[in-house]
Symmetry: D2
Subunit: 237 residues, 4 copies
């Protein structure tokens, strides 16, 4: 896909994931092209792609944002969990390369620095999120099993299913600190398992860790307000 | 996709999976259309689809059959294992519907009849294979998680990764009896787990069961000859 | 414990496991000593040991055989499953010694010979049972974790919970062939996993395999008659 | 066992677990009785019990503290992990009673209060430890499988293997806050799984959680000093 095409696709995914384009809303080519200041062609291609991914559905002349239920998301998070769990298991069984190990340990150290003073700021969570995506990508590559990335690519397009979308409650950063510290300690535990060749353990931690993006947020306040979605660079994923 | 398009796609997949179209072989539109007695358009679309699936790669003017390594297949079988395992776990946790349970028990009874006299014939294995595909499809649907079927669809196109392709050693049906009996007893065990709400157990059996299509065949004779591939109706999958 | 003491203990365990000494039945020192043709002292010690194990309960002057429910047995089989599963996982993660691997492969070959002609005789199942106990013992030792054997020792005293007691339906050896072939194919699969360093897979197979002694027997005929219990040399366990 | 006998046993276990009675040290009846201000009989019985548990070994006239290696402890922690994991799985599959659920939620709320202000004090960790033991005991009972507690009882006597011994680095309570918050978030996750009937998930979390007592402490500082062991009421366990 062309550069502008990829940018348009990433923009539209964010607008849908954030709810700015709400379920049921109509999306038409020309106004969208004007809004994003691009020509019609990349918009047309992006809309067709989003339809294939299940985020849009075709109506008479245009598209509508498909309603994504909580069950849809939960199901896709389970799928991500077993696939990333498989990656961690296979990475542990093959043994980590020195390079992969160094990358993972850098990610741990970066997270430890972020959490060292007992609190986090919203802008720090953006750094956390970039580190987080690097961490996950490293494990998927370390599996040596290309079929995992293929299956994940299909699954990741659902909003919140991907590790690249991270919901943050900006009104309650004390609790978010505890939640992100939990997720980061899971990173520590999975690296411990990978380094020591404990495949079953690495798999179990990674499967559970898939719940960190969304589900853990409910432990404190199921009806929370003020949620911001941090996106990694989706197009580069 | 059009009816003829689907038929062409299914035919080409079989020719590749069976090795009649070997790795490296060139595939060109016109002779392929003549061979399958269809027009060029459905062939063109099918070839593009097979390229996206990773079975063909583009060369100057046409396509070549991509070499699929043993590692590629093993990786895709692992992916199938964790996805079908997830389906079985979620089916057990939700509880089976009366209809799903009846279908699974019919499949068990049909297999028991096939194996009751202590041997199998090649044509019986074809019946087994249809029953087998019905069994797997029922569990995936019973999960209530549509993201599983989506992820599997992408994975199943690799030869031997799918439950729809079953390798049989026609020169050694005594040993094949023991192997298929093993696979069928795993079906018994997974239904036992599903009916009794044992999700972890159902998942573990189903994951291991993914090895039945190919890996178990090596336990008797790693360098075997005379292997036939039984295909379910791939297009209807 | 003295030699006669061990023999008395093994004899009494068999009589309880086989039901010859039924739940609720009184057991008194002197007649038991006469029946087994030993002096009273080894009987007294054995009865006290069986009380600690939960097979007998103390009454006024003697003991009674404690009723063991199906749930008690199922619970102990689950415990055995997770402990043997852990042993297999740790054995795979450490890597098998050449000696352990050779022993396991001998066990596989012996089972393959027994099943090669498509049927089994009762006396062959006794050989199977000795091989089976050797197989399990080898994996527990290969774990390098002595805490597993300690925890198993306590659990194994419940009738049918131990791998050393194997229920066989002598009136239906065709079906028993299919059941034992299933158990033996699980042995093949677990060795495949151990040899290839697949810890999670080895654990999952071994956990499920704990159901082979009793639960699988129900798949054919829940209300079966004519069950014989084959015992390995319990005292030597 | 008599009240003084239980007290003596608990005292001696603590002295061994804390290292005050070091590996190799001789323990003789009379001085021990004087030190603990009891008569010789409860000391004699306690020493024999500790020998059976593997904490002491018999020498000529008395006992010595057996050397417990890091591998011994790691092995026993693995055993505890699979047994508590099994308990959580079976509790999820049966469904929690209203009473068990209320107890677990009380434990979560108590921990949340302890961690709410972003730090912990040593005396608060003692409260945490009592809550922690109650939490674990509730899950083991909720399994409905008495064989689990029997197998755990044997395993728990090794120092640090039991949930009743908790190592705390009193010089570094900021890091300990992060570690205990991790353990407590695992409690949240396991209750979430139990309440929603997710047996495989509950098992996986509980297995990993066994590492919280000791292993996680190494993530920050492998060669740490100043470790205090908090004991629950061991005798009442």
């Amino acid at each position: 896909m062309s550069k502008p095409g990829q940018r348009v696709l990433a923009e539209l995914r964010k607008l849908i994931a954030s709810g700015e384009l709400a379920a049921g809303e109509r999306i038409v080519e020309i106004p969208t092209a004007e809004r994003l200041q691009v020509s019609r062609m990349p918009v047309r291609i992006a809309l067709r792609t989003l339809e294939q991914e299940g985020l849009l559905c075709k109506t008479g002349r245009g598209y509508r944002v498909r309603a994504v239920t909580r069950e849809d998301i939960a199901g896709a998070v389970e799928v991500r969990g077993v696939l990333e769990g498989l990656a961690a298991r296979q990475a542990a069984e093959r043994g980590l390369s020195a390079e992969a190990r160094a990358t993972l340990e850098e990610c741990l150290a970066e997270g430890d620095r972020l959490f060292a003073n007992g609190q986090v700021l919203l802008e720090e969570l953006e750094r956390y999120q970039r580190m987080n995506m690097r961490f996950h990508r490293t494990i998927i590559e370390a599996s040596g099993n290309p079929a995992i990335a293929v299956a994940l690519a299909r699954n990741d397009h659902l909003p919140f299913a991907s590790v690249s979308a991270l919901a943050v409650d900006r009104d309650n950063l004390e609790q978010e600190f505890r939640r992100f510290n939990f997720a980061h300690m899971q990173h520590h535990a999975v690296v411990d398992a990978l380094v020591n060749g404990q495949g079953a353990r690495a798999e179990a931690i990674m499967r559970e860790h898939a719940n960190a993006t969304l589900r853990y947020a409910d432990y404190f306040d199921p009806a929370r307000q003020g949620v911001t979605v941090l996106h990694g660079d989706v197009a580069a994923d």
